[in-house]
């Protein structure tokens, strides 16, 4: 699903965001990317989204080599990904339903199926009563749920959530993490970045990618807290 070999990312201003990253993620995995602010978590996610490209090394996501050569292929790849952005990137002036529909309109899905997917996704995130509310009238947590609904309604192979627990209190943060991890299945990989490591400390059956100053270490925890280090 994801294969990074010796990937480095240096921004135009010279900042080295990631150094020699090696990572393999299989279909159906749950991956937490942790680390303090500015450690390179978002940079890693940007690489996976095709918002940035490796300055060295090779990276492939869902079988697609992440290079600048063919932007159309990257655009096609993004249709297989369900992104939940840190700042949500919802479209103002539209309802929650319209925002969720917006993520599917160019996927060749029939209007009936789109509406069904959107409805189901909004029910799943607990917003059945706010489907027609404009997103600017929703609370922070509700808006985040709309963003999650938009990501999952597309039935993606990969869900990428950037700091979904930021700005949330402990209970709401746990609820959001539970919601996101519930979408993991044998076909769908879920990758979540967070700096709130205390929220995932007891978590098992997941891969933990720790990012520190651009370097990563990977820890895989099997079910029942069985640990193995890579």
């Amino acid at each position: 699903m994801i294969e990074a070999k010796g990937v480095s990312l240096r921004y135009r201003d010279g900042t080295l965001a990631l150094k020699d990253v090696n990572l393999e993620v299989s279909p159906g995995e749950l991956v937490y990317i942790t680390g303090p602010s500015g450690s390179g978590k978002t940079s890693l996610l940007k690489l996976l989204m095709g918002m940035e490209y490796p300055t060295s090394g090779s990276l492939s996501v869902l079988g697609q080599a992440m290079t600048k050569d063919d932007p159309r292929k990257i655009r096609k790849l993004r249709r297989l990904i369900g992104p939940v952005f840190q700042e949500f990137k919802l479209i103002k002036g539209r309802s929650a339903m319209e925002n969720v529909l917006m993520g599917m309109r160019f996927l060749g899905i029939s209007p009936k199926q789109m509406k069904e997917n959107a409805r189901n996704a909004l029910i799943r995130v607990g917003l059945e009563h706010k489907m027609l509310s404009r997103v600017e009238n929703l609370s922070w947590g509700e808006a985040q749920r709309v963003a999650i609904a938009r990501a999952v309604a597309r039935k993606p192979l990969l869900i990428l959530a950037d700091e979904p627990t930021g700005n949330l209190d402990h209970d709401n943060a746990l609820n959001i993490l539970d919601l996101l991890t519930s979408f993991k299945d044998k076909n769908t990989t879920v990758i979540i970045t967070t700096h709130a490591t205390h929220l995932i400390e007891g978590q098992s059956d997941a891969t933990f990618v720790k990012v520190r100053e651009g370097n990563i270490s990977v820890e895989r925890r099997a079910k029942f807290s069985e640990k193995c280090f890579v």
């Binding site: 600048k68 096609k76 790849l77 297989l80 990137k89 309109r105 160019f106 060749g108 209007p111 938009r150």
Partner: protein
Amino acid sequence: MKNVLYNLGYFLKEAKKIIQLNLLSNIFSFLGTGLILFMLAMVVCGWSIGNRLVEMLQKEAEINAYFQEGTDEQDALKLVETIKNIEGVSDAVLIDEAEAFRRMEEVLGEEAYILDLFEDNPFEAYIEVRIHLDDIDTILEEVKNLDGIDYVRDNREVLDRIQSITEGLKYLGYLIFAAVGITTLVIVSHMIRQGIYNNRDQINTLRLLGAPNSFIGFPFVLVGMLLTLGGGILSAVLIVVLINMGYGQMSGTLPFIPLPPRDELISGLLILIMSTSIILGLAGSLFGLSSIKNTGNNGQ
């Protein structure tokens, strides 16, 4: 194509939102485009009427050959036959003094009483020669050189002047057409760029979700088309009103100007205006859309 059909309602709603987001500018663009297209329609209308006039005059092209003194009727009739045989002459008729007088009475109409001031008929007999305008030079030369012909009068100057005015109108039409094209392209593409700028966040989000440029750009193309189509309809209404008024006026005061059939002129102009507005709307939108590539920094 499937995506377009599935999302037609969405595209129309988006186009409406884009227009509403910058309503005043869009209204002025619509009015501006309408007036520019109206100007084009007026010039084409003038050109069409001028062309018609020249065509009619060319069909009616004739020269008058006047006799030398002492030419009797028999000689005159022989000359008529000789002239009929010249290449490019379609007909030749002898107009005697009485017929010449009658014709002048017709031309003068109510003013014909001035002819009563003459004691005798002041008009002389002549040969009216209908010709093909293209052969005018050779015919003039041959007729002038015939024995018994004193001089030849032609209406070439008038024809040449009308023809040059029509030519001028044609070139003015080309110029206005180019001006209309460039101005409309600039207006529409500017409005599209403005719309793209106003919606840059949405465009960026759609790109991150994997939307193709064709999907993102479609509502903007629709906006461009709606603006110019609206302008086209406005100019069509104005030109139809103007033609109807003009025909009403001219048929009363200038009945001798051969106007093209009204319906034919209107339908021709409507086709021109609407097709021009659609083409310019499409071209302007696509031109404006080129700026979409530079929108946002995450949108490869």
